[in-house]
Point group: D2
């Protein structure tokens, strides 16, 4: 575990809650940062050893600033992931009225049903983060806030209602990023993350990328497109592939992508934290099958049989 | 042209600027709305005939609220698109100092270089839109703002600097949505927009979707994934396909998607506004080729030759 | 059942045995022909209503003269198939020595093990058909022959050994061809036969053909290449597809092939005679699914939803 | 060049004519054999160093006995190919009448037009080879024969008519086979021959084979199916692929086939003799591209960047 870890702050965010789930993180120095790019730049500059940042949310989708920082600036790799259930509380003063409710707009959006049915008379106040909203309440500038339980505790607020999100299964996925480093050994249930650029904005080019994966039995658990910023119709694709860079089939698939894509940026191989069962290598595509085929080819080349 | 059109307000936004480029829009009643979902709901309720909303930006990517409203609520179709160059101005008082600069965070982000080099001493103020920022300046609550020229004009502000964005080619694409209606006749350079859901989160399922298009020579100019909100790894894909729903090859491709996808939502066929040349039907895939094949099949079925 | 049927003669061939398995054939006038092309030309000229000819054998492979006649001359269609177990007998005089054994070279080749172990001292005599070999024995010009039981019976020969082939499961598949005619109604377990020409001798062109089938869930039970006679590397492909030309998915696949291939020759839809279970339409590709998709498209075109 | 070479005899066949085109063959001991399997078995037993046998003819198609011997018996590899124009002569006695014309049935079939127009009154006599037909004429048992010029010369016959085939561009392709041995170094214009078995008789399985090739930019110049002899619908596929087993892309394609096919039999890498220009590696698939991708992967595995 790195000894100095930046994270998307302030204290009490879901990101800090996620960080505390990483083994050993409670003994690391944890530095809250004001934004995702700043947290990642702390790692690039060497000021921190790693940074924990949100990657995607099952309701809101990917976190654009994280993806853009991963591909537009100098390379970082993901070394671990944390998938955290997003459970909101309504926090404030147990004995006070609730005329104003502060939170980040996304958090307010995810608790719309609760707020509509229980606090239809309250007005909402946008804040820069759920933790900042808790600070507003602590400072008397709002009556209540939608935040993580951790933030309420940090600011000594009362829990007025628990688990108030509209989507009980909502989760956020975080990545621990560091400067480029060899991946930890395969756990048997790993993800390899990539960003690929395709030269042409055509169905054929994307088919080609998927075929390179499919031929080697590499499956996708996520595909996200982000514009490259050049012009409409130019995208980078973020791919989460099942398997580890040390796997023979993943290696061959990566080399295939390297050859057919305008650019491939490797974003790390790390254990999955989703609780889902590992997807085994399809028939014929295990490391043993690759070894056998490689020895066979060597024999054919050496003596024709 | 519809007679009552909602748009993402307030007055002076880039959306209003885009709306004024639609032929006949200057004679329509134009109603600024506070948010994209509200604008689209005005159409659903029948209060407005159409709404103009941003779909994607070449720098920031797609506009999630627009996509989510298109697929999660009752169906609307896009009947026209406007692609607007995003040109920011710095507006304020020609004779005043610039200690505070207001704008929407995305606009500030897109002018970062300019602000860093010319106004490094100024502090930034987040506003809900670039037009709202202009209102703040007009009301004396900020010294200057980053906004569209239209907003500066509406609020009587001076242009302190023109075309200050970091990406000179930045554009935003807007869609005019209405309740479901037959598409206007093909222009020869059209887009058909779809959202498709695939039952399984596998590379094979996405390959299947792309193959249905590719076999009929239908090309993609955009593919965006959005989580369905159910859980990580479940996505809807937004596709912009070259061609018109009246084209034979598009019709067969749509029917193919309908059969293999868990769900397909049709989002409209409309002329492209990107200034790019039309992509002709590949060999063998024109309407004439479909007619010929269809007559041939009819003869084979009727008399075997 | 046609009233005048040509077949590959002479009397007593496996082809005649196959013909007698077709319902009603025993009441038709049956005309033995000296060669496959002659039998097929009897149909083309109108002298016969139909012809039964061998298409392929599980040991020897396809019958080139049949395939070449099907594609190089004026069109015929297959209206029925017969799959006949190929069971050879050794026939001669029960009381005579066996110094010479006559048969068609293919038949001798398929009984090599038997002849080697039981009649290693005999010399073989090539004949133009197994039935002609029986005639040689009847005429005293050979001591024994390898032929069909039917030929032995016709020539009054004794069965010296039964079922002497090396491959007990060997079968030959025959086709009943007629001038072009509408196919009989689907039986639920049908084959559609085609010959397709591809313009370029590339893996991509054959992939394209297979993809047209695969996208519509049409499976192949046979693919054979035959040179077109132009030059090395130019082939026609003979395809046997599961399904009937009246099926929606077969119709769409045929039209797709028509559009992407240099030429497609339809060779008939008819019930399978292999005893294998029918292969049902894959999910999403039944006639009902096509109807549903077609109605959906019509609605989208008419009113956008 | 091997010192003892078997070939499909007798002397004077097209196969001997082809053999004499191989550099150094005129100094080798050349042994005519009665059949293709016997010629190939001479190599298997070690009695000969190599054998020249016909593989395919641009008019007749593949030579089944050659293909079957290549895959059903112990392995041999093709080390060279010869593509020979098939030019027939009518040979006999300059001063004699031509009432009977002998030849192999395939040769008679390929000169049908000539025989019909010039010798419609003559009857044909089937012989086991074109060279055997020349022997018949030399022995007075036929008046004339259709054969290779070489056979006419060997038997002292007069050339009655030259180049009498119906297809002026007809060629036959021969292979020089030997016991398994490393391929000669790439010439820049090579073929790699394979036989592959697929476990299931499905369009999907063949698509899989073609995709393994296509992803590595390996093209096919020939695909032939042969029944495996097990039952209808089970085939081996003979593939001629452009490129050499020493090429990186061919190596990876072979390993891919090895993993997905029930069996792959390597049949040799050797220079093309068709006179056609070499097909260069597609973009991204040269040996240099494979090297680059391989080094990149090594770096990613070692240190993540």
């Amino acid at each position: 575990m790195p000894s100095v870890i930046a994270y998307l702050g302030p204290q009490g965010t879901f990101t800090e809650a996620a960080l505390l789930r990483l083994p050993g993180a409670d003994e690391a120095e944890r530095r809250p940062m004001r934004s995702v790019p700043e947290a990642m730049d702390e790692v690039r500059s060497g000021a921190c050893d790693a940074a924990l940042v949100p990657i995607e949310n099952s309701i809101e989708g990917s976190v654009p600033v994280t993806l853009d920082s991963l591909v537009r600036d100098s390379p970082l790799v993901i070394t671990a992931e944390v998938v955290l259930p997003v459970s909101f509380v309504l926090a404030g003063r147990a004995d006070g009225a609730v005329a104003t409710i502060a939170s980040h707009p996304h958090a307010l959006a995810q608790c719309r049903e609760f707020l509509r049915s229980k606090h239809s008379g309250a007005s909402t106040v946008d804040a820069l983060s759920t933790a900042a909203a808790a600070e507003l309440v602590a400072g008397g500038r709002a009556d209540a806030c939608v935040c993580a339980r951790l933030a309420a505790e940090r600011h000594g607020l009362d829990i007025l209602a628990d688990d108030i999100g509209d989507n009980p299964g909502a989760v956020t996925r975080f990545g621990l990023v560091s400067r480029p480093v060899a991946a930890v050994a395969p756990s048997g249930n790993d993800v390899t993350s990539l960003a690929v650029y395709i030269a042409h904005d055509e169905v054929g080019a994307l088919l080609r990328v998927l075929t390179e994966l499919e031929v080697r039995g590499v499956n996708l658990t996520r595909i996200e497109s982000r514009p490259t910023g050049e012009r409409l119709g130019r995208y980078a694709f973020f791919l989460d592939c099942t398997g580890h860079i040390a796997d023979a089939r993943m290696g061959e698939a990566l080399m295939g992508l390297r050859r057919v894509c305008a650019e491939v940026r490797y974003l790390g191989s790390y254990p999955r934290d989703t609780g889902e069962a590992p997807i085994p290598a399809p028939p014929g595509l295990s490391d043993g099958d690759f070894d056998d085929a490689s020895q066979w080819l060597e024999r054919l080349r050496a003596n024709g049989s």
